[in-house]
Symmetry: C3
Subunit: 210 residues, 3 copies
């Protein structure tokens, strides 16, 4: 189980790094621009989470595998970007995986640092979404996250489920829930985001009344 989460974690980072590198491709940057934006997008959300948690160190400081993964994914994108753009559909689904995993991992790390429930949910949402927010902000374009259907909402569901199940596992007789908290929460977020992609689900947008 632990290994699967570790694998999904890396997968999420790769996917976000690729999306950052693709944004660099649209801007016709050089290869260092690819690496810069790929890495920022891949590690951005988790970095802000760690700064806000005042964690001992940001997660990529000692374990440089995270940075290498982002760099390699960005360089690979440089060579295959013209294929990936026709693979947009694949990326959309891979991004849904990243979103689901990061929302749960973000909430989990916040609980480890003894954050209150509300803060843990917020950290999950933030870990899942701030990488792309920073990327778009630095590139001076409106954040795509705001246009996507049920994106932040799916991150909220993942984080909320994890926090809820973890609380439940603390009750007498319910400790067997603990082992299920991570996969069930990731699954819930993924199901919601996946349905939104498939069926074009949306929350109602604000409409000014005249």
């Amino acid at each position: 189980m632990h290994e699967i989460v570790g694998f999904l974690d890396m997968l999420g980072m790769v996917v976000f790094a690729i999306s950052g590198a693709l944004a660099a491709a649209e801007r016709r940057l050089d290869i260092l621009g690819f690496i810069l934006f790929g890495t920022i997008t891949g590690i951005g959300g988790g970095t802000i989470r760690d700064l806000l948690l005042q964690a001992d160190e940001v997660f990529w400081f000692s374990d440089t595998r995270y940075l290498w993964v982002c760099i390699l994914a960005s360089v690979a994108t440089w060579f295959v970007a013209h294929h990936l753009q026709s693979l947009r559909r694949v990326l959309l689904w891979a991004d849904a995986i990243g979103l689901s995993v990061f929302s749960v991992i973000g909430a989990q790390k916040a609980l480890i640092w003894e954050a209150p429930v509300l803060v843990a949910v917020g950290m999950g949402m933030m870990t899942a979404s701030f990488g792309s927010l920073i990327r778009d902000s630095l590139l001076g374009q409106p954040p795509v996250l705001l246009e996507a259907d049920i994106y932040v909402t799916a991150a909220a569901l993942g984080a909320l489920s994890y926090v809820g199940l973890t609380a439940l596992a603390g009750l007498p007789g319910w400790d067997w829930v603990a082992g299920w908290a991570v996969p069930v929460s990731i699954g819930a977020a993924f199901l919601l985001r996946g349905s939104a992609i498939l069926f074009n689900l949306q929350l109602p947008k604000y409409r000014p009344q005249h």
Copy 2:
């Protein structure tokens, strides 16, 4: 006195959260977008201040009332935004209160963390203005703060007054000033910003000479 400052502090946060949610309304976001931008705008300035001060924790970490206030204000804005837009004048004045209070509270917190005078003034200005800067930057629009009349300047006056009066209160025979530092500084910032709103005051803008 302490309770009034606490009340004004919450009021400032509510006002900034509403301004963030109104920005989300202009973008036709869904309700989670309202909450996201309302919360970022409400707590953004103080959060960056706490990170730069390397405070023990960011101010909303243990005391989740701040987050709840931002969330509630954002949700409320969702339902009444079409009224609030015609109440733009009210919001402008409420924003002036938030600006005044935050500039003084920011400087106060910096002094508590033993910041030098100049740093304390900068922290006051930052607490008052960075929430809206982050909001506009994430939304990809030019920061409104740069267009407003005497906005940063009023924050500077509030922070500067507080730091000056606090220094004065340290002199022998002037300790009675201590109790007045907060209200007088908030009042000074509010007076300046209020005059700017009423009389359209501006500092001279830079004009290129040909």
Copy 3:
């Protein structure tokens, strides 16, 4: 030697502060806008570096000379901006000095905080480039850094050289290299960026294949 680095460090900060104030001039801001953007651009890169390193405090917290230098440079720009715009060429070269110095100082500070090699290189690149990234992002304009020729690349070379030479100096019989690490690395970054300016060198940009 140490004094020369300290001088170049201040020079780099002045140059970046001026470039921030010039961006404020293009926006026709008032003098506090000049100070705000000049200071953010001057200290931005190093501040993010210190936050990510979880350094004891951000570098301008106790030693306020950095802030004063940024403020003075911004105010001076207010008065002479119309000359500086015709001096764009001078600024371009001064900016190259700032870039070179900051990339090496950033890597050096990261090594002092025991960062792994890859992290140290990244910190050098970040210190040299994030000031202008933040400035452009807050002003809502696309980052100039992305358009400049071999900009991030030169920062990477400076940081990489410093880390490499420092590693070399740790080998038996090579300790005499230690004294040369800083000037050689700064020189390498400056040479590369300078050549790029003179000869319009570029890395190949990404080109979509149809």
